[in-house]
């Protein structure tokens, strides 16, 4: 296979629109190796080195000589739009099939059909997708000449990102015949990761490694235990930071409320999470420096390309050095100075622990699910598993996914149903689970130590942890910012957190397949659905959550502060049509707790309180029900409405804690069937924890 360097250079110049551009160190060798050499290559270079030029030019050169198209597997595709532009400038027809561009899928399929796609960008999850297999791989997979794995460190157990589908990527690489060209790229890989990758890519793989340090970056760690302190710190210091930047948060909820706080302080901030609307617009706003800061979950991580990013702040401590460096390393690539600041909070350990312990199913969960499948020769869909076992839906999905990614797999997905194979779940699976969990704990310790590193030594700590060479590292170019926060800002931040009312979206569907033993099935009629409700606090969120907890478990009475806070909430909320009476969810376990609170609130509002609902029998506490089906089934039939106590006007429906929303949904439906007007649910706290991104 012929390699023409002058042609490669011509493509580079077209691609970056600079007629005098030269290859960066290593780029040309990488392209040549892919095109003319043995074809297996691992490139470890920091972000901004220009990995995309390597694979786009290699693709172009292969296509020029009549070879088939290329597939680029990357965890994040939406953000590669600027790379796709560069690809098109050098005549590389790049397309993507992802969850955000369903409107393009048919067109891309037609282009594939006509051989008019040079490189297709897909996520690792897409590779496992049945539609993709059927419509892209089955008809066109015979002509793929180059496979590119972006963020290749995820293939290794030691890579910081545990992405289950990289297990599939790993197996695909291992099973490729030796004549298939494969390129793996990553910005961060320590020796352990490289060892794993070399084994997966095969003995013949060539490894190319660049320098890690980023002299423009001034790193700092600040311990600010309370969320209010961190919010205040951000408000006080953001304006002093260079250019535009990113604040990384761990949950979607944090993304929205940190951005909300900053906006309330007059800072141009947007939230960015996997469920944000207008993600593209928000990326563009950051790219074009139209906002000061994007408050993002890890949905915005890999592939985001902004050379003049002025700062990266972490609102909580990430789980590993590799992951942290990957994110903080995005700052200051083309700048003289930039900042990377890690704010450590009191909730960090708890979050880190829940991420680690939630990564794998427990033996009990796995055996419950496998037993359910054992009893179903034709397999079970996810909703069917949900109705068979008392395990949270997310945990069920996660367990099914992990087990079906094993090799050989104990279960396999055939159409929409999971079926047992002849392979029993192996001890090796649990060994690996334990090993990975131990690795995560070790990584966490390393990150905790980083928090304590004195100013000036952060970069060498990171480079050493990544097995790089710390000898050439310069002193930080900027001076430290310090912990100081203005007391007034702190007070404002505390008030903001207490006013952080969350919405309770109404449920519109009964559980999939209907509730056994009830007529509840399909859509909930609009005139029986609840209105969008409000909750005063997140159970663990530093606002009113603590008072709700002590009221429920210690004092057996919700405080008058909570009544006042609820009044404030209602004033801000202004539900229309406004409630004319108040009722609450009954409980046989705590018969007075919620009615007492609801009565005081009703008095303060000057509205009548009517006990319109009753519990007919003792059911287990709703929180013992792990998934939606179980929760709905637990409530249905145990709630009863007393029509004599139902007024015709809109009603405020009070409960202490909302989680699955089934209690409120069923109560709302009963009240309206008994003649009530619209139902406005309101609770003191929300314990649902579905906001991890």
């Amino acid at each position: 296979m012929h390699y023409d360097n002058s042609l490669a250079l011509e493509y580079l110049r077209k691609g970056c629109g600079d007629p005098r551009a030269q290859f960066r160190a290593g780029q040309q060798e990488a392209i040549q190796h892919l095109v003319a050499g043995d074809g297996r290559l691992l490139v470890v270079e920091k972000t901004g080195w220009g990995k995309s030029f390597v694979y786009f030019i290699a693709t172009r050169l292969l296509r020029d000589q009549g070879y088939g198209w290329a597939i680029l597997v990357s965890p994040l595709l939406a953000l590669m739009r600027n790379q796709i532009q560069a690809a098109r400038r050098m005549g590389v027809r790049a397309e993507s099939i992802n969850s955000q561009n369903p409107e393009d899928h048919d067109r891309v399929l037609e282009c594939l059909q006509r051989g008019e796609v040079d490189i297709l960008l897909v996520s690792p999850e897409r590779l496992a997708n049945a539609w993709f297999t059927e419509h892209v791989l089955a008809p066109h997979g015979d002509k793929v000449s180059l496979l590119i794995i972006d963020e290749a460190h995820c293939v290794s157990d030691w890579g910081h990102d545990f992405r289950p589908h990289y297990r599939l990527v790993e197996r695909i690489i291992r099973r490729l015949p030796a004549n298939m060209r494969v390129l793996g790229t990553t910005a961060t890989a320590n020796d352990r990761v490289m060892e794993d990758l070399t084994t997966v890519f095969g003995q013949g793989v060539k490894v190319q490694r660049g320098d890690l340090a980023r002299p423009s970056l001034t790193l700092e760690t600040l311990k600010l235990p309370l969320k209010a302190q961190r919010l205040a710190w951000l408000s006080d210091h953001l304006s002093k930071l260079p250019g535009s930047g990113i604040i990384y948060v761990l949950t979607k909820r944090d993304a929205y409320h940190v951005a909300g706080w900053l906006r309330s302080r007059g800072i141009l901030a947007e939230a960015y999470a996997s469920d944000s609307p207008d993600r593209t617009e928000r990326e563009d706003a950051l790219l074009n420096n139209e906002i000061k800061v994007l408050v993002a979950t890890t949905a915005l991580s890999m592939g985001f390309d902004k050379p003049d990013l002025g700062f990266v702040i972490h609102y909580q401590r990430p789980g590993s050095v590799v992951g942290y460096y990957q994110q903080v390393g995005r700052a200051g690539r083309s700048l003289e100075t930039a900042r990377g600041i890690l704010l450590g909070g009191e909730e960090d350990d708890g979050i880190a622990e829940s991420f680690i312990s939630g990564a794998f199913p427990t033996r009990t969960e796995a055996s419950l699910i496998l037993d359910a499948l054992e009893g179903a020769p034709d397999g079970l869909s996810i909703p069917q598993v949900q109705s068979a076992v008392n395990v949270r839906r997310l945990r069920i999905e996660h367990t099914l996914q992990l087990l079906s990614l094993e090799d050989p797999a104990p279960i396999v997905k055939v159409k929409s149903k999971y079926q047992l194979t002849t392979t029993p779940i192996s001890e090796a699976f649990w060994d690996r689970t334990e090993r990975l969990t131990a690795i995560r704990h070790k990584e966490l310790e390393e990150m905790c130590s980083y928090m304590a590193v004195p100013f000036g030594e952060h970069m060498s700590y990171l480079v050493r942890a990544l097995d790089g060479n710390p000898s050439q590292i310069e002193a930080p170019r900027l001076s430290p910012l310090g912990h100081a926060v203005n007391p007034e800002t702190l007070a404002a931040a505390t008030a903001f957190l207490q006013g952080n009312f969350l919405e309770i979206p109404p449920r519109k569907q009964w559980p999939q397949g209907g509730l056994e033993g009830t007529p509840l099935k399909g859509s909930i009629p609009p005139n029986q659905q609840c209105q969008e409700g409000r909750t005063l606090a997140q159970w663990n969120d530093g606002g009113w959550g603590n008072q709700v907890r002590s009221g429920k478990y210690r004092d057996k009475r919700f405080s008058d502060d909570l009544v006042r806070a609820s009044l404030k909430l209602l004033r801000k909320w202004q539900p229309q049509p406004s409630p004319t009476w108040v009722t609450c969810i009954p409980s046989r376990r705590h018969p007075n707790l919620v009615p007492d609170f609801a009565k005081r609130l009703a008095d303060a509002l000057g509205l009548p309180f009517q006990m319109a609902l009753a519990k007919t029998d003792d059911r287990p506490e709703q929180k013992a029900m792990a998934n939606s089906y179980m929760q709905a089934a637990n409530v249905a039939g145990s709630l009863q409405v007393d029509p004599s106590q139902v007024s015709g006007g809109p009603v405020l429906l009070i409960d202490d804690v909302v989680d699955s929303r089934w209690t409120l949904t069923i109560a709302g439906s009963l009240l309206q069937q008994a003649g009530s007007g619209p139902v406005w649910p309101m609770t003191l706290a929300n314990t649902s924890n579905d906001s991890q991104d």
């Binding site: 059927e134 089955a138 015979d142 298939m180 090799d407």
Partner: protein, 443 residues
């Protein structure tokens, strides 16, 4: 994780449809004859199919032009991603693949089917059953109840006698025989013409597959559906894996059972064929007797089944049932040239080159009592000890005090067994790390 040998990968790329979905890519895969031709051609130059996917295959490929157009070969060999997707889908369902180049490939097929043996076999279950031989039981899909219970009885007796049942896994007689054997605690091999992927997940097969008593085997892509041609082509694979065959019922002059039995009686002569002698004789069975099948009285004991597998004096074609351990003491006849790095060129003028090409000329028949096997066993120990560091053949010859030519012959055997290897471009031999290639599924 199950590994697949480079040769198996290459053979799949050349011959298999590689279906990952319902609509496959229209590939011009090599048919049996074309595949034979390319293997023969490669063999002449001392190459194996695996060499076609090695990084420096360009020259070898262009050398193939006279046999198969290079562009066609390249297009087939470029299907690497598809191949890896297939291997993954199969492996997930515990389906393995072996090619004629793999030592696990059933020796009965090699010996009996010769050039007609399928290039690749897909299967689910314990691979070692492939060498167990046994009794093939064939018959109609629409058999009446008394025939079904007769056949189940045969299956149970086979189980009692430790004989494996080989069958087509179709409705009716096939399944009755397998059911009898499996429920009687014995073993069965079902040779499928379609839908292996589905069968591998079927609940009624699961326990037996996990116990290592059931083997499902197919020469066709695990995704393909029913097709008359494939169903017919599968007949010889049933007979070929057995030591004797029993036809329970058959139409006269038509139908798959008739065609399959007649093909064996008239042409292939793979194994002795018996027909059920008990009960009412049908024209079909009488017709088969006229063609040389032997009547078989209703067996009343497991000994009768064992006798059935003994070679009758009048049937020179039959092969005694031997249960050769797959990974135990070396089988001197197992090596194949397809695996060997530098196979001898003796086949160039053979009338049936591919057949020769898959056999090692140094190989000899016989099991562990064969003196040649004993010598080889000693040699293996000595050479393995010597190769703690890689050495050229000349040094080995000196160390062991034998001619260099003799050492080279032995090395060939060890190479083909995967014990030692010689890297391309090197002159030394080295010990190979043990591969997980033949680990049985479900263990």
């Amino acid at each position: 994780m199950r590994e697949f040998s480079a040769n198996t990968q290459a053979v799949l790329l050349l011959t298999a449809p590689l279906l990952v979905g319902k609509q496959g890519a229209p590939s011009q895969t090599l048919n049996q004859r074309e595949y034979q031709a390319i293997v023969a051609h490669l063999h002449q130059d001392g190459h194996t199919p695996a060499d076609l996917i090695a990084p420096d295959a360009e020259d070898i490929l262009s050398g193939c032009e006279p046999v198969i157009p290079v562009d066609r070969l390249k297009a087939l060999l470029q299907r690497g991603l598809l191949l890896s997707q297939c291997l993954d889908q199969w492996s997930q369902r515990n389906i393995w693949v072996i090619s004629r180049a793999d030592p696990a490939y059933p020796s009965r097929y090699r010996d009996k089917l010769k050039n007609a043996c399928p290039p690749v076999l897909y299967g689910c279950g314990d691979l070692s059953l492939l060498e167990s031989g046994g009794l093939a039981v064939v018959g109609s899909r629409n058999a009446n109840e008394s025939l079904i219970s007769y056949t189940e009885g045969i299956g149970r007796l086979a189980a009692e006698s430790g004989t494996c049942i080989v069958s087509g896994a179709a409705r009716g007689v096939d399944q009755a025989a397998m059911r009898g054997a499996l429920e009687g605690g014995g073993a069965a091999i079902g040779i499928l013409a379609d839908s292996l992927e589905r069968a591998a997940l079927q609940r009624e097969n699961r326990e037996f597959l996990q116990d290592g008593r059931l083997l499902l085997l197919s020469a066709y892509d695990p995704k393909v559906g029913f097709d008359v041609g494939r169903a017919m082509g599968r007949n010889r694979l049933i007979y070929g894996l057995s030591d004797a065959a029993l036809v329970v019922c058959s139409d006269q002059g038509k139908g798959g059972t008739w065609a399959g039995a007649v093909e064996v009686l008239d042409k292939l002569r793979l194994v002795p064929v018996y027909v059920r002698a008990e009960g009412s004789q049908t024209p079909g069975l009488r017709g088969l007797i006229a063609k040389g099948a032997m009547p078989f009285e209703e067996p009343t004991s497991s000994e009768a089944i064992i006798r059935l597998l003994q070679p009758p004096s009048s049937e020179p074609n039959s092969i005694p049932a031997t249960t050769l351990p797959l990974f135990g003491p070396p089988r001197a006849d197992s090596p194949m040239a397809e695996q060997s790095q530098d196979a001898p060129k003796t086949s160039a003028d053979s009338p049936e080159p591919p057949q020769v090409s898959e056999r090692n000329p140094n190989g000899s028949p016989g099991g562990q009592d064969d003196p040649r096997a004993l010598i080889l066993e000693a040699v293996r120990i000595a050479i393995e000890r010597q190769l703690q560091t890689p050495r050229p053949p000349s040094e080995l010859a000196e160390a062991l005090g034998v001619r260099e030519g003799q050492i080279k012959d032995w090395l060939k055997v060890l190479v083909s067994e995967g014990v030692v290897e010689k890297k391309r471009g090197e002159s030394v031999y080295r010990l190979r790390r043990k591969l997980a290639l033949f680990t049985s599924p479900g263990r």
